[in-house]
């Protein structure tokens, strides 16, 4: 590169030299041109020499003129003279003048030539031989001077030419030198260029090599770059994967932590050296451990409290075995912990701890609740059955080993409905207390639900023993209960079934005790009864009755009979009481007292009652004189929401005026759901239907019911009427009721009047109406007309 720079400098210098030389050559050429022009300038020599020739020719012409034979005339001379004048002008002007002025002699010569020509002019004008001679004489001295002038001009010209030639020669040499220099310089230039070219070629080659190298390097670099970028990509993807894994791990860790710390169980992970790997917050809570002592790596022996040394020892022993284990551990008094331990392959273990105290308690409570009545805390039916079964197993059907007593409470439903459930519950509690006191310590008292109780009497009780127990129960239940500031009277009947005589399994024993209880009830209140085989038959008969009754309605076995009610003042029939009769195809007539309770218990009374109502309305619509019809209602019927609609429908269907329908209800109807019942009764009464209180005087507190609803009529129970003519108290009661009716503006009907005496008695106390066999028994609808006519006859007869 240094060489190259030197060469470049040299080349520049040579080029500058060449340019300078060319410029110089150009200036030299200009100089040479000037010189050549000088050599080419007008030749003064010629002018001067011509002036000599012309002077001589003029002299020769003048001389010839003098010779007579010559042809030269004066004009010829004059012409020559003119030519001389012309020459004189030439000598005294232009370049020649410069030449003349260079020397005084030359100027003198020219001056003399001018002067001579001036002098000879007159002679030329007047040319004659004499003047010709004068002209020649005057011009003669000029020849030599003019020749000198010509010679001088020649010499000057020669010198000039000589100088010019010398100058040209030197210029030529200079030129040659310069040309040689130029050639040399060009040669140098060529050499330099050649050298430079070589250098350039070398540089080019080097560049080429370098370029190739670079190309290779570039290729390598590209490959390396591709390699790197691919590696970079893979690294990036690996990095992304790592980041993702990191995120996943973190999420998992967070989840793990969250799971760990939100576990309801305590968790402990221990390695083969019984060092803590991880535990959760719940674990620390259970074992009351501070967070700092449960760092990973801590020895379990130092971590746990010595209170739990036994637990740790147990867990270590489990860890040494291959199986997982679950066991309970009492942490402290009343706190039970369930431990589930799983051995790990490295000899460590993972264990979960759960405080199951609450669960245990709940389980126990549930178990207790499952076996006990919540209200009375007595064993319930289920537990009673367990006990019963255990007893059965224990004694292998040994006869007389134990007995089952079954009882329910009389009127409990009424108490519950009238005094409220709270009071009912309190009553049940008191009952249970009394029951437990009434039985022996070894007996088990159980409440089966509602007002049903059972007693398991164990230890081979004999009949007397059982009688004593039953009697105690009945007596104590018969005594009033003081609850909520009032005395409540109930009662009970007890049924007794004895193992194994009365049953070899739970169900039969319980069923038979139940049957015995019903038997006792049928006997009367406040009794007990041992199971006897016919009881089952009675129950079966009752079931058969239910089925028959269900069929009776469909098969039209039911019939409505009508018993006349007579107004005592007018002695005429004012209404009939509709009375249901059932004629069984096999058994014949069945008493309402037998099948009505069954109908009420089974709910058939709703359908039967409706049928009776429609039938009665339809029949009454045929009757004369606005005779009313009186229909008995059951409490079950009134509880039906649609009852009022059924009544209206029956009236509409029969076109019987509402005031001709009388509905008879007993006090017991008002005892149940009295508010709802009263609402229905009011609704019906507003419609014009009459209401009547049946069997007045047989119920609880009848008078208050009279206040609660404005009945149109009171029917005095037959039990009072029957004996009033012989018993004063009956008479007094009937009298009072009759007076009460009068005061309250209600009709009073005496039921069960069968004799003339009875009629007179009720008439005497002021009853307004009478019903009974005296005026006629219940008769089928078809016979109602005969009743009317018979009564008419009786009235006329009276």
């Amino acid at each position: 590169m240094l060489k190259m720079r030197k060469i470049e400098t040299l080349l520049g210098a040579v080029l500058v030299g060449l340019v300078l030389s060319a410029l110089y050559v150009s200036s030299l050429i200009v100089e040479q041109q000037n010189l050549i022009r000088q050599t080419a300038r007008y030749n003064v020599t010629w002018l001067a020499s011509q002036s000599v020739v012309e002077l001589q020719r003029f002299q020769e012409r003048v001389a010839s003129f003098s010779i007579p034979s010559s042809k030269v005339d004066s004009d010829e001379v004059a012409l020559r003279y003119q030519i001389l004048l012309n020459r004189l002008n030439l000598l005294s002007s232009g370049e020649f003048e410069e030449f003349v002025n260079q020397s005084a002699d030359r100027r003198a010569t020219v001056d003399e030539f001018r002067q001579a020509l001036a002098e000879i002019e007159p002679w030329v004008d007047h040319l004659n031989p004499e003047n010709a001679a004068r002209i020649r004489a005057r011009l003669a001295p000029l020849d030599q001077k003019m020749s000198s002038l010509a010679a001088a001009a020649n010499r000057i010209s020669g010198d000039q030419v000589d100088g010019d030639q010398r100058e040209l020669l030197s210029l030529h040499w200079f030129f040659s030198g310069i040309i040689v220099t130029l050639v040399l310089m060009s040669l140098g230039l060529v050499l330099l260029l050649h050298f430079r070219n070589r250098l350039l070629k070398q540089a080019h080659r080097e560049m080429h090599v370098l370029t190739d190298g670079l190309k290779d390097a570039k290729g390598d670099l590209e490959r390396a770059n591709e390699d790197i970028s691919s590696k970079n990509d893979s690294l990036k993807s690996q990095n992304e994967m790592l980041v993702l894994r990191d995120i996943e791990l973190r999420t998992q860790n967070q989840r793990f932590d969250a799971a760990l710390n939100n576990m309801s169980q305590g968790l402990l992970l221990v390695d083969g050296e019984h060092r803590l790997i991880v535990c959760n917050e719940r674990y620390r809570q259970i074992f009351e451990l501070p967070a700092e002592s449960t760092k990973p790596g801590a020895s379990l022996a130092t971590v746990t409290d010595e209170r739990f040394a036994a637990l740790l020892a147990h867990q270590k022993s489990i860890a040494s075995g291959p199986r997982s284990a679950t066991f309970s551990f009492e942490l402290a008094a009343g706190t039970v912990c369930s431990v589930s331990q799983q051995p790990m392959p490295d000899g460590g273990w993972v264990a979960t701890y759960e405080d199951v105290t609450e669960r245990r308690r709940s389980e126990e409570r549930i178990a207790y609740m499952a076996h006990h009545d919540a209200l009375t805390d007595l064993p319930n039916r289920a537990q009673f059955r367990e006990h019963l079964e255990r007893a059965l197993e224990l004694h292998h059907g040994e006869s007389g080993s134990f007995a089952v007593l079954y009882l329910d409470l009389d009127r409990f439903k009424t108490v519950n409905d009238t005094l409220g459930h709270e009071l009912g519950d309190a009553l049940l509690k008191s009952v249970s207390v009394r029951l437990k006191k009434a039985v022996r310590g070894s007996d088990i008292v159980s409440r089966f639900g509602g007002d049903e109780f059972a007693v398991l009497c164990r230890g081979y009780p004999d009949l007397d023993e059982l009688r004593r127990i039953a009697t105690r129960i009945v007596e104590r239940m018969g005594q009033p209960f003081r609850i909520g500031g009032r005395d409540i009277r109930i009662g009970t009947c007890v049924g007794i079934a004895m193992a194994i005589k009365d049953g070899s399994d739970c169900d039969s024993l319980l069923r038979h005790a139940d049957m015995a209880m019903y038997a006792a009830k049928n006997t009367g209140r406040g009794t007990y009864c041992f199971y006897e085989a016919p009881m089952e038959e009675q129950i079966d008969a009752r079931r058969a009755l239910e089925d028959a009754l269900r069929r009776a309605l469909q098969e039209n076995e039911l019939e409505v009979y009508y018993q006349p009610i007579v107004n005592l003042k007018r002695m005429e029939i004012v209404s009939f009481e509709a009375l249901l009769r059932w004629t069984h195809p096999v058994r014949g007539a069945i008493s309402p007292a037998e099948f009505i309770p069954v109908a009420e218990e089974t709910g058939l009374i709703v359908a039967i009652g409706e049928w009776v109502l429609r039938r009665a309305c339809a029949d009454a619509a045929q009757w004369p004189n606005g005779t009313r019809v009186s229909v008995n209602l059951s409490a079950v019927q009134l509880r039906n929401d649609d009852f009022a609609q059924i009544v209206f429908s029956a009236l509409a269907g029969s076109q019987l005026p509402a005031h001709r329908l009388e509905l008879e209800i007993t006090e017991s109807v008002l005892l149940q759901d009295s508010d709802a019942t009263l609402a229905v009764l009011h609704q019906l009464r507003r419609f014009g239907i009459r209401t009547c209180m049946d069997d007045f005087g047989t119920g609880f507190s009848s008078l208050s019911y009279l206040r609660s609803f404005p009945f149109d009529k009171i029917k005095i129970d037959r039990s009072f009427v029957k004996d009033m003519h012989v018993q004063e108290d009956c008479r007094a009661i009937v009298t009072s009721i009759a007076h009460l009716g009068q005061s309250l503006n209600m009709t009073t009907t005496a039921e069960g009047v069968e004799t003339r005496e009875q009629l007179e008695a009720v008439m005497a106390v002021g009853c307004t109406e009478v019903q009974g066999y005296y005026f006629g028994p219940p008769t089928p609808a078809v016979d109602v007309a005969q009743v009317f006519s018979r009564l008419e006859k009786m009235r006329l007869a009276a």
Partner: protein, 174 residues
């Protein structure tokens, strides 16, 4: 040169060129014989003559051919001079010259040879006047061959100075 002279010159030029046209039409075969003193005789290879084998011209005849003006420096005068005269090219054509050179012979017996092509190439004139005056013999008259020396450096050399003959009286076409 005053404006007046110039105008006159132009007018004269215009008139003479009209006259030349007339002469040329007349001298298609012959040339009018000189009426005044003959100042130029052309001989040699010419086709148009008016006196034997020659063509003779008096001053009027020459002037009638039209004048050209050259203003130039010369070696013979100090400062530029105005010359008026006939275009030699035109003159040669008017006499039907068919040669290569023209030999000019002056009154003082000076002789020079001029290539015929010079006349057209350099616009050479045969001057009659210098600075509006007819040139007398004592001042290179009556006819002076003048090149326009200032127009071309080539002309400023001895070669053309020697062709510039004055006091010309004869031209011989060869």
């Amino acid at each position: 040169m005053s404006i007046d002279t110039l105008r006159r010159g132009i007018t004269l030029g215009a008139i003479s060129s009209m006259g030349l046209l007339m002469i040329r039409s007349a001298s298609a075969q012959t040339l009018a014989a000189p009426t005044d003193k003959v100042i130029l005789t052309i001989s040699g290879k010419i086709s148009v003559t008016n006196s034997g084998d020659t063509a003779q011209f008096d001053r009027a005849a020459l002037e009638a051919m039209g004048l050209m003006t050259i203003e130039t420096n010369t070696p013979w005068y100090s400062g530029p001079q105005k010359f008026e005269g006939i275009s030699l090219d035109k003159l040669m054509k008017s006499v039907g010259a068919k040669g290569d050179t023209v030999q000019a012979i002056a009154l003082n017996d000076y002789t020079t040879e001029i290539p015929l092509e010079d006349f057209a190439k350099y616009n050479v004139i045969l001057a009659l006047k210098r600075n509006n005056e007819y040139m007398p013999i004592r001042d290179k008259g009556p006819l002076f061959i003048v090149y326009p020396y200032d127009s071309n450096p080539e002309l400023r050399s001895q070669k053309f100075y020697s062709r510039s003959a004055w006091q010309v009286s004869k031209l011989i076409v060869r």
